[in-house]
Subunit: 581 residues, 2 copies
Amino acid sequence: MNFFVRINMSELKVSFEEVPEKYKKMGGRWLTSQFIYNEVPPTCHPLGPSNKLIFAPGILTGTTAPCSGRISVGSKSPLTGGIKESNAGTPVAQALAKIGIKAIIVEGQPKEKDKFWIVRLSREGGKLESARGLMGIGLYEFAKCVKERFGKVGFIAIGPAGEKRLPIAGVCFNDKDGRPCRYAARGGLGAVMGAKGLKAIIVEDTNTSPVTVVNQALFRDGQRKLVEALREHHMTKPGGLLNTYGMNFLIKVLNEIGALPTRNFSAGRFEGANKISGKVIVETIKQRNGNGTTSHPCHPGCIIRCGIIWPRPNGFEHVSSLDYESVWALGANCGIDDIDAIAELIWICNDGGLDTIEAGVTLGVAMEAGLIPFGDIQGAIRLLRECIQGTLLGRVLGNGAAFAGRLFGVTRVPVVKGQGMPGYDPRVVKGLGVTYMTSPMGADHTAGYTTATEIFGIGGKVNPLSPKGKAELSRDFQAITAFVDATGYCLFILFAVLDIPSGFEGMIETCNGALGTKWTSDEVMAIGEEILKIERSFNEAAGFTKAEDRPPEFMRYEALPPHNQVYDVTDEELDKVFGEL
Amino acid sequence: MNFFVRINMSELKVSFEEVPEKYKKMGGRWLTSQFIYNEVPPTCHPLGPSNKLIFAPGILTGTTAPCSGRISVGSKSPLTGGIKESNAGTPVAQALAKIGIKAIIVEGQPKEKDKFWIVRLSREGGKLESARGLMGIGLYEFAKCVKERFGKVGFIAIGPAGEKRLPIAGVCFNDKDGRPCRYAARGGLGAVMGAKGLKAIIVEDTNTSPVTVVNQALFRDGQRKLVEALREHHMTKPGGLLNTYGMNFLIKVLNEIGALPTRNFSAGRFEGANKISGKVIVETIKQRNGNGTTSHPCHPGCIIRCGIIWPRPNGFEHVSSLDYESVWALGANCGIDDIDAIAELIWICNDGGLDTIEAGVTLGVAMEAGLIPFGDIQGAIRLLRECIQGTLLGRVLGNGAAFAGRLFGVTRVPVVKGQGMPGYDPRVVKGLGVTYMTSPMGADHTAGYTTATEIFGIGGKVNPLSPKGKAELSRDFQAITAFVDATGYCLFILFAVLDIPSGFEGMIETCNGALGTKWTSDEVMAIGEEILKIERSFNEAAGFTKAEDRPPEFMRYEALPPHNQVYDVTDEELDKVFGEL
């Protein structure tokens, strides 16, 4: 039996309610976006009482389907002003699903602005308690306190940045070993949680039951096909690229093709790239030969295992996880080529509850403005700490790259819809640029990762530098991604699924098996399109138009070395992406 | 013979060119808005090279028509992100018209970011010179330097805030005695001028010729009618309300009806109102009996003379002018009830080149956030000085109320389209609220001053508290205002013109006389509507939708004491305003 948990922060009440019929087949992003579309006034203040924060495990989360332990967090974003879904892989997602929780809805706002609460959730119900003793500390310390106070539980939490309602703040989940390092990072959802006065949700997963699977035979069939595809594809197989390097192999690849955004998107190649490459990361871990490891899963049941636990020079664990986006954002984009320094910056982000991408892009803009020089490690550390402390400068930076850019009067500000761009310069990877510009989420590589085709040759092969056909490519990727984000599957299954037809079948069959549906591949794409459509509708009602589906102006006239390309996908092409939706 | 002056800051070139046929009958806001609509890419960065800054005296500016010495400044606003027109009354407007300059167009951007220039303009031509020696000083000092260096000339200049590209910066013009106190203040046009590297335009008005009037007889007839109406109406006549108190009589009036925004729009009555009322201002000036005066004109030929020169206790001049909006914004809205302190805050704004309204609204938000307490005079002085110095906090505040509100996580932020609201709470003066919400300019009382009818009973009488019929009222006011802003007339002529039919005739006949046109009153309204239409179109292309025509959310649920009214003009009513345009 599934239910919704409604946490009303105005009345300080937690209630369990039946899942309305219309939401029963939904999960993940599908559910969060539909819910926001239905219940959040599009023009409300993102940090006011009318906004809601929704957590929803995917359709398959909690089942034995491989790599299906993701949870979506949805809200109106204080960073973009539009709808937001950001997801994370974490055992908490699986625990909630096994408790029977289809979604958690946080709504309202406490009268007392400075009082924070935690909610304890279990099969037995939910209750609010004061967050006293857990406030103002870093998330590593928080995780320790939680363990001491509640034992081995899962948590959903914000760090000091979220407590301060900074739009750079993400929502943090524990990984399978209890580290506070799995983030629904983007769009400032941590600030929304902070504005709700909710420090954390503590999830006790005792006495749970298996997640319902309507057609076991079909499900198992699909699961087998998907597992086989994942174990076969060069990106996802054991010992494959992801398993060995995470996505960090991209540092070298993107640097070679001149698409690695360097020093605030002023160049496409970084002279320090070979000091922070995937190969160097893996070799250094081996040399240090201590508690570092590659091939770490973010949740049980992941067979790709792209996580990387980085050790200090003495072999002791430093931080998990060294993902490409973080390494790029806090590395090349800031002109920093020292992996230990980058690891420390990631640790600070994890501890303070910051989105590493927005943090890195904002630091890049601050460096551009001359606040500190590019490459200044100690300066970068100091600025991130100021975010967490909430000093005036920290609040400026904690409001993200677009905000800081305006403050400093900088015009080279790599954002779309107010959200900082991830680590692929759109002037070189033009299809991904279309995703940046047109995704309802703002600049977001995970919203339609055309890089798969443009760089890796997955599902076909196209020239990344050419603007041709990129509207269609991005639209297809955005649609299938929206569906995948509904399932609880990790986006990375797409590499195998798009190249291996039986893998694609497996993805759909596991869903059909679990739900008792008979979705075809066309219907699956239609679901993805439907999700995008409601997201776009919300944004439209919130005031978004085609003008928000545009690159920052400088990318139209500033050619990126070494290819000296501007962003030349035309406005008309950009408008074609959702012209038919 | 009229011409355009084009100042190309990329090439550092000044050229005079013939006025294209299509612009020949236009002036003021009509010309600036049409020009921006035609030549500025709507999605460009307001501080980048593609934006343009246009100066245009009105159709009648430089003629003997009464109160016609206004000049419009237009651009894409860095404060609102939309089109902007802001105008000022100044002899510079008249000088430009007499030189034959129909508009000045500033475009491009110098390569060297930190180098500033001045342009010297006269009948003989224009030339660029380095702004060395004029930078970084206050505008009072600047005015002295200009006088020493160039003699008795007019100037258009930015202060330190504009040099720093802060969206709180206005464009400053001298008054008839050379004071740097006449501002096209709103929308951050000073920041655009700063981004162009243009410190000032120096206007030498020797060897000028009278402005062409095609039909002298008709013009003189119209002029007579308008002068008579102005001399008859209780608002505009000699010894009338405006001539005696400026608009400061509003402090008492609005306080009594509970519409005086107090302490960041948290109340509609200010307990200190009777310490800063128009009556107290006038009586204090009389007591101090020195260089203060009421009844000061901003330009020769003004017969209303609403300006007030405030003296220090010792009788020496302190600041000009004590206008209602400034007294309210830096007074009641900040909980400050000391006129000498308010005068000093206005002086600081004039000296630094700040919009007094945006400054006061931003201070209100900063006080709300607890940065300094309400009523803290020394704190307010310090914060404004920080703006001018461009400290980090100064840059935060210098980006205006909406920006500061986001930084501090405050939800009570009285802005529309990112621009701070003037001194009438829309929850009580609901028609003016419609203007705030729907004007293409953002929250702006001068864009459609329905207060005339709602409070003064001019052109009819309606209940300010009722939402009924306010869409139509605001639309009509916005249309006639757009026309008036094209003529060079001061908006205050509307009081007489709307009550006295021959005054209305006079307004149109002076235009027809000057241009040789045969505009009817319907055509005049149609011109106003046409101006609004192109402004709305620009904004739409820049990404504005109905969602930008909304009150800040808190005004929908926070009732304003003492009337305990929320803003209850419905979204549907708001959308009716321009539904037909």
